[in-house]
Structure formats: C-alpha cells, structure tokens
C-alpha cells in the first residue's frame, strides 16, 4: 500500500502538470485578452498593463515563470508584506526571523488590483467547501437509504415513491428549486434567511468555520438541501440498481440458507458488495460540489468560489482561470485516490501492490 500511494502521488503530480499545460495553452489560444473592453483602451495603457503583468513576454517564458511561482518553493529573507499582491504566497513557513520558505504564488487577479488568486482561495473557497461538504452529506444521507428502501421493497409503493422523489430531484434543477425554496421558507414563512452565508474567517484548517452558531446553520440549510437533492437522486438510483443486482446473487441465497437473519443478510452480505458503483461516483461528485457551484451560490447570494470559474473565463483573467482549474484538478485527483482506497476496503479482490 505504501509503494502504491507513493506511485499514485507521483502520477498526481504528472496529471496536475499536464492539466496546467493544457489549460495554459487553451487559455491563450482563445481570442481576446484581459484588457479588451467595449471602450478600447489606448495602446500605451494596454502596453503598460501587459508589462505590469508580464504578458509582454513570450508564452513559454510566462508558462515557466507560472510553474516556478506555483510549484517551486521559494526561500525568502522575509515573510508576507501585507497588501502587496505580487508577493502573496499561499504557504509561508517561518524557519527563523530572516529565513522563510514560501510556496504557491498563484498570482494577482486582473479584475481587482488589491486581490490575488490566493485571496479567493482564502476567503471564497472555504465557503464553497463548507457548502459542498454539507450538500454531499445530505446527498448521502438521503440518497443511499432511499436507494436501499427502494431496492428492498422493489415494485411496491415505497419503491415507486422513492424513485419518484429521485426523478424529481434529478429533473428539478437548483435554478428552479432554489428560488422556490427562498420564496416559501425565506420570504413567505420567514423561517430561514433567504440569502447569505454565516461563516467568517478565521477558518480552522483554512476551511472549517470557527464561529459555529445557530445562525450559521440557518443560512446553510436551504442551499445545502437545494444543492444536495440533485446528487442524492443520482445516488438513490445508483444504490437501488446496484443493490437489486447484488440481492439476486447466489451468495445472498447462500447466506439465507445458512440461517442468517434478514437484516444481517442485507447489511453484512449485500450492502458492502453493492456500494462499489456508489463510491465510484462519490469521487467526482465530491470534487464538483466542494469547488463551488455557480448557480447555487448565485441563487442564494453565497460568496463562494463558483462564480470565479465562470467570470474568470469571460474576463480572460488568466491567473484566476489557471488557479481555479488547477484547484479543481487537485480535488478531483485526490477524491479519486480516496475512492480507490475505499475500493480496497470494500472488495478484497482489489489489492494495490
């Protein structure tokens, strides 16, 4: 397992590098640039701006210096200098007063002179991660039991009810469900705040809120449910299909013949065997949810990461495009690694060595 993990982490680095290269190439291949406005700027100003952001250099040089800024740890004689955007590293480790190891400078954003990509990671990403994790929890807590009930009560009212809920969840998008929930619970009944997100820095481990209060949970309920419901529907259908297949297997009959209690037949023999496809989808699902979801965050007025995925591309905000895509890639690769480790636990035939 140890050797396998090391190999996987090396692969991960390769994947990230390839993703960074493709993103960089595509991004520059698309026509237009960050400073093309409806009202054309004077050529001198554009030249100055490009010089300021090193866009006047040849592309290969820009790419290499980006890699250097992000991936190569720098040794510096002083720590962060406060409001200087170009000097913003995500990780700053103080060795002595005059020796710092600093790592991951994702660069400035072109749309704001006072914010860096790292600021987005520090302020907006934690909110998206919180929302995404809660939505994932809701998806699992609703979806998996719903699928199990539907499979065990196949072709009964419970099955049809469960699968109707699932179809509803898949087919009603957040853009419909969100405003509907805001209207009912936020505006009409006034049970929950219609918009916003109740967490503020500092974050524990850079992600988890430290000011947990009832108000925080109140803001979280609606968006998490709205976001999680669609995924729960997918999980429910997958769990049902997979469990239905497994409970028809011969070894389930073997278990019954042994005299195993029905509840144990399901939990001990059937469930673990049927969870493989569910776990498979959980990896990409998690990566998608925690890196921010544009529509949900827009609907509920949540200052998360989602909007940067979309606006950075229309703005040709090169560092933000690179940063968001790389972040997504990292999450995806890590999530898939977790999935593969789970496989080995769920199915002893899968061994990595």
């Amino acid at each position: 397992m140890g050797r396998y993990l090391i190999r996987r982490i090396l692969y991960m680095l390769v994947v990230i590098l390839v993703v960074s290269f493709i993103t960089f190439s595509l991004m520059h291949a698309v026509p237009g640039g960050p400073f093309d406005k409806e009202k054309k700027l004077p050529a001198e100003i554009i030249a100055n701006l490009e010089k300021r952001y090193h866009l006047d250099q040849p592309l290969w040089k820009q790419y290499l210096s980006y890699l250097n800024d992000v991936f190569v740890p720098q040794f510096a004689s002083e720590g962060p200098k406060g409001l200087v955007v170009d000097d913003d590293f995500l990780i700053n480790i103080k060795i002595t007063n005059s020796f710092w190891i600093r790592w991951m400078n994702f660069g400035p954003t072109f749309t704001s002179r006072s914010r860096s990509v790292n600021d987005i990671f520090r302020q907006n990403l934690p909110i998206s991660v919180q929302l995404g994790l809660m939505a994932l929890m809701i998806a699992i807590v609703i979806g998996v039991p719903l699928g199990i009930i539907s499979a065990l009560k196949q072709n009964t009212v419970w099955d049809y009810l469960g699968m109707s809920v699932a179809i509803f969840g898949v087919s009603v998008p957040v853009i419909v469900l969100g405003p509907l929930m805001i209207w009912i619970f936020g505006v009409t009944l006034k049970w929950l705040p219609p918009t916003g997100w109740g967490s503020k820095p500092p974050y524990f481990l850079g992600v988890f809120p430290t000011n947990l209060s009832w108000d925080y949970w109140r803001t979280a309920i609606m968006p998490s449910v709205a976001l999680g419901l669609g995924s729960s529907a997918i999980l429910a259908r997958l769990t049902r299909a997979s469990l239905l297949q497994v409970i028809r297997e011969d070894y389930i009959r073997t278990a019954r013949a042994k005299g195993v209690k029905e509840r144990m037949v399901i939990t001990r023999h059937a469930l673990k065997n049927s969870l493989i496809p569910v776990v498979t989808i959980l990896g990409p699902m998690m990566a998608g949810l925690v890196t921010g979801t544009f529509v949900t965050e827009l609907t509920f007025g949540i200052p998360g990461m989602g909007k940067y995925f979309v606006t950075s591309i229309t703005n040709r905000d090169y560092p933000v495009i690179m940063g968001t895509i790389l972040l997504y890639a990292v999450f995806l690769v890590i999530a898939n690694l977790l999935v593969d480790i789970m496989y080995a636990y769920l199915d002893p035939r899968i061994r990595y060595d």
């Binding site: 072709n155 009212v157 049809y160 297997e249 011969d250 070894y251 009959r253 073997t254 278990a255 019954r256 013949a257 042994k258 005299g259 195993v260 209690k261 144990m264 023999h269 673990k272 065997n273 769920l346 199915d347 002893p348 035939r349």
Partner: protein, 328 residues
Amino acid sequence: MKTENAEILLRVENLVKYFPIKRGIIIQKTVGAVHAVDGVSFNIHKGETLGLVGESGCGKSTTGRTILQLYRPTSGHVFYNDVDLTSIKGEDLRVMRRKMQMIFQDPYASLNPRMTVGEIIGEPLVIHKLADRKQTQERVEHLLELVGLNAKFYNRFPHEFSGGQRQRIGVARALALNPDLIVCDEPISALDVSIQAQVVNLLEDLQKEFNLTYLFIAHDLSMVRHISDRVAVMYLGVIMELTGRTELYNNPLHPYSQALLSAVPIPDPVVEEKRRRTILKGDVPSPVNPPSGCRFRTRCPIAVDICAQSKPEFREINPGHFVACHLV
C-alpha cells in the same frame, strides 16, 4: 436396496410453488403464474440419496429451494421429522436450518466475494451461537481438511481458488452445522468433468462418515445413476416416475423416462450400436400455461385422448415404483 425400511427423514406432500406474474405500474394485478412446482410428493429416508432429474426449467431447483423454505410454497407441506416446515417461520425456522443445508450449483457465484473462507464457513456457527471465536476457527480448519483443502486457506478469499476448490468450500460450509439433510442443487454441473468425479466422491465419503441424507438434483443422468439410491424424474413441475435406481435404468415405465434414458450413451460399442434414441418432438411447453391433463402429453409418443382430459395419478405400479401415466 438399503432404504426399504429406513425411517423417513423428509416427507414432501403435494408441494406447489407458483411464481406470480404481475402487471401494472402502480396497482399490480396478478395476470398469471409460472407453475414451477405443481403437486410434488415424495419421501426421503434417512441416509439415502434421492436423485432428482429433469430438463432445465422443469422445477428441480425450485423444488429443492422450496423444501428448504428458501421459497415459501404456494401450498403443500414439507415434514422434516414430523415438523411441518411450511408452518414455521422466523426464529423456529432459523433453528431448523441447522439440520438442513444446501450446496449450490455455481461455486463462483454462491460465495460472498468479500468474505474470507473462514468467515464463509464459520458464519453459520457464529450466527447460531454454537461456538466462540476459537472453537469456530478450529471447526473451520477441521472442515477444510475434511473436504480435502489446506487448513491454511482460512484467511484466503474465494477468488483465489479454482472451481473445484470453491465447491469444496461450499460443501464445507454446508457441513459446518452438522446437518442431517443436504440438498445438492446441481453441485457438479458448473465444474470441469475431471473435477466432477472428485466432488461426487467427496460427497459419497462424507455421506458414509456422517450418515448424511442427500437430495441430489442434477441433469447428468449417469452421475445421478452413480450416486443415487432412488431417482425421481421430473417434467414441468411434476414427478413422472420415482423408483430405485437400478429399476429405473433397467425398466423405465414412463414414456418420458424412456426418452430421457435413451439419450444416455452406453460405454460399450456393441450395445451402443443398437441404442435407439427416442427423440422427443417440439419444445417443453410454457410453465405459465401448462397442458391440461398429463403435462407430458404434447410430446408423448403414445398419448391418447384420456391424457388430455384427466391428470394421471401418481400410482405405485410395483412395490416402490411410482409412475404418473394413464397407459402404464
């Protein structure tokens, strides 16, 4: 025949199992039924092997599973030592399961892939609370050696074994609770021919050692002849003929048995030369809508009018030789 006066272990009376066919999306109506087993009666004596043969889909496996209450019968009774299995459920039935076990057809599918061999074989002991952890391991290792496997296989997983070895694991699992009756549901048909004999010999040895009673379901006639004391021939959910094995193979009375046995090659070139096959015409009728009267009449070479009108009684023609045919 050693079974003549032995005590009866299992008595099956008029066992019926229909599988309903349902239509409708929300409100379901039963529009028909698969007549898988339709009035089967027989006895199994203690220590004997009763062979149950028939074509694919004739209800052999369903009979075996219904006897063990893996399917609940539509009607009829199964008496095990005078306990009516069809009337008990829950905990009582679980306790009875210690006495009767099953060996399944497919050794690849019938072992849970994520449990070790030790867990698979030992689970019955654990769930019936018959042994603690240490005793379970000892018993499992003993069982593994009994079926000719290495006791060190305890912590291995099923996928690490060949088909024959896996079926041995299945046999060990069935033996774990010291049952009296084992229903062998085509235990060798998924195995290579070279392995079949090994498993059959193992079953015979175990029978002698533990005085086991077998219901041996198969479609391989020569294998059934080898292992069985008595043989029942089944067609479309009904037993057509039931008698001692020598009697059946030498003197089959029912036209279906005759056709079936004429298909067995004889390992003697001179006799084989003269073997005349009775080839049945047509397909087995659908069990959803079985023929009236005698089930076999649509393909029977000697059928007459009465065969369509009334169902032939399952009569004892000679002592111990039962046949369901109007013309015998």
